[in-house]
Amino acid sequence: MSWPRGLARVEREMITLGYLERIALNPSVVAEWINEASRHLRSATLLANDDPRLAYAACHDAIRKALTGVLAHRGLRPKGGEGAHARIIEWGTVALAADVDADTLRRS
């Protein structure tokens, strides 16, 4: 896949605003986020019939962690504190503009 035009500019601005910070690229960190996201997805499948609400929450966490992994792959991470999860999703709406909408990412 290719990154949407303007993503780098948005990232620079999100850093300036204190939403994101630069980190050294570490492939094992990236892999850990993606593995964790995969585990959550498997859990969601197991829970889907018995406890759909928890399965949904697991899907949400899987999306957030997968996005965090992709961010880490770009040498970035969200700055901690309030709203950090929303920043990841905000970044995701730009990075994956055509493929994802906010409702898909929303925790009900």
Binding site: V10, L17, G83, E90, V94, A97, R107
Partner: protein, 196 residues
């Protein structure tokens, strides 16, 4: 940062506001996050946030809180939403960008958008078309034409499919021919050589 349509500058509050409205009212997306809107309109995130709040306050856009995120969409309930869209489409939207792009290509005499985009623009219901059918009348250099349209495609985020026809064929098409069918269906003129 882009600047757009100087002729409109006195009407809108700022170039940024104009591009934000254009993204919302003329683009393929129904609803955008503030960051996404900032990216597409090529404005700062803070500007997108402030302008959106101001526009929402006056009912020009709608906002919806999704968790901690704010989502923005056009307000089609606005009595003059369609007229606003028409102004934006002809200036900074599809027709305006095509006009600017084709204006740089010699020997383009006329241009029309036809097909599903023109039908939607004419009021026919349906989703935002994934490509734009463009009829170019004249004798432009094909490579120059294609290069100009590639540039326009980047801003529009949809494919532009050009068909070139001679002025003589366009003036007198037989009804069953391709050009005859284009004439019979909705089409929108791309302003060439005038004020965008």
């Amino acid at each position: 940062m882009r600047t757009s349509a100087p002729a409109l500058a006195p009407i809108f509050r700022s170039d940024e506001q104009l591009r934000i409205l254009a993204q919302l009212y003329t683009g393929p997306d129904e609803e955008l996050s503030i960051t996404q809107l900032a990216n597409l309109a090529d404005v700062a995130i803070g500007t997108a946030s402030r302008e959106t709040a101001r526009l929402a306050e006056h009912g020009l856009v709608r906002t919806r809180q999704v968790g901690r995120m704010r989502m923005v969409s056009p307000n089609w309930e606005l009595p003059w939403a369609r007229e606003l869209r028409a102004i934006l489409v002809q200036t900074v939207g599809v027709l305006g960008l095509l006009s600017a792009g084709l204006g740089r290509v010699p020997s383009v005499e006329e241009a029309w958008v036809f097909g599903s985009w023109a039908a939607r623009y004419d009021g026919e219901a349906g989703p935002f078309p994934r490509d734009i059918d463009l009829l170019v009348i004249g004798d432009p250099d094909r490579r120059q034409l294609n290069r100009a349209l590639r540039e326009v495609e980047k801003d529009l985020r949809v494919e532009v499919n050009p068909v070139v026809a001679s002025p003589a064929d366009w003036e007198q098409p037989t009804p069953a021919s391709f050009l005859g069918q284009v004439r019979a269906r909705p089409r929108a003129r791309v302003p060439i050589g005038g004020v965008a």
